[in-house]
Assembly symmetry: C4
Homo-oligomer: 135 residues x 4
């Protein structure tokens, strides 16, 4: 199968609400990066987190197996450090081969939860074009 996606992705918006009205795994407040790797080989992913008032933290390492999706919750990251709650952050994602990344948040601080999603920004492709235009 041909390669699908990009190797560098950016998600400027990141925020894990520190509270939830539910402890159920599917309804707890969480933020996720959803990966699709339709290829024949596992892809190694490095994630770096950026903050407003401290140095970047990372890399966090995850594997997206061949022909699989991975719905990775930022809540679950622990190495090199847990992701602070109620804190603005952004993420830069670098993959060993092309994948596709979508950003989702479920906010259940209130009884009526809210959802948001967007395809992440495919930074490798755009970076190349921008650099070319400036050269």
């Amino acid at each position: 199968m041909r390669k699908i996606g990009c190797t560098v992705w950016a998600i400027p918006e990141g925020y894990i609400p520190g509270s939830s009205v539910s402890d159920a795994h599917d309804l707890v407040s969480h933020e996720a990066a959803c990966f699709l790797n339709p290829g024949d080989r596992d892809v190694e992913v490095k994630i770096t987190l950026f903050f407003e008032a401290r140095e970047p933290v990372g890399p966090y390492l995850v594997t997206v197996p061949a022909k699989r999706t991975l719905h990775m919750r930022f809540n679950d990251l622990t190495d090199p450090a847990p992701v602070p709650r109620d804190t603005s952050y952004a993420s830069l994602i670098e993959a060993s081969a092309p994948v596709v990344v979508q950003h989702t948040r479920l906010d259940s601080r209130q009884p009526a939860m809210a959802l948001l999603t967007t395809i992440a920004f495919p930074a490798a492709q755009t970076s190349t074009s921008t650099e070319g235009a400036q050269a």
Copy 2:
């Protein structure tokens, strides 16, 4: 009319909530891929679903008629197999001619429903650029 869109699209985020507070068709929890085919010919679409811990399932076959939209609910797919509820998945969409694809979910597990949407990732175009940059 000139061709609009791409032939390969990816949606890394997929999740059909298993419950709903309403049985009404418009308010039941559902996830949709919305297609636009503004062209003069019908487009045949193949959808492959990817999971976190099992082999991909597909292809699911749908037709987007000429000069029509199709708001396809993943809930309604049955052949080769129904889409499991409360399960993370991703989808890869391959069309016989360019279309445009948008991803939407209505989550009505709670009395206050939540919505999310994004244009899907146009994978054919980006894949070409990425491969070119690596060659």
Copy 3:
């Protein structure tokens, strides 16, 4: 000011809920295409609506004045025909000069409203790339 955006945009997802818990203009269920025209000349826009089981309707004509935004509600379109409620549709937007288009819905069928948004799909640019790859 240099030209910003594209001249052809697509929004595959369209649906105006037929009911609202509020009659207030800002809280009634509505769907909007938000235009940005940062240029020095007015831009003429033609919108064609596509349905699942009937012929396309249009063009609807609107003007986005120079150096202005226009948050156009599909609810307000009347010529050549009102947009049916509780009906799936899609829209194709063709502009006389580049603009940027974002799609938004506010759904207030329930006391707890829901929101969704996405940048529309810039079809002119992608269409060119796709055709080039196939030629």
Copy 4:
């Protein structure tokens, strides 16, 4: 680190709800542009706001420090003028070096808040392509 992103971004949809059920900083109705600057140098950003029935206002000036994210609330802009509430606007963002921009709104006019997000439109890249196609 290589440059990531674009130097011109557009967000056609802008609207700060004039009321909130909560005064808490994290739950008050707000609209944000989230910036990611993974590079080694601070980036200067100029924001121009466009309205439906008045002249553009700006530039608003903000700095996104090197290796930082900035989750800038439009609510907090005051110079050259506060952003009017309950008023449709759009924003054009011009940066001194590539950044990535994501648009988010939290609407808490009602007890059940709603969220929306999208990656902003990377206008520099697309503008170049469009102009090339027209030349």
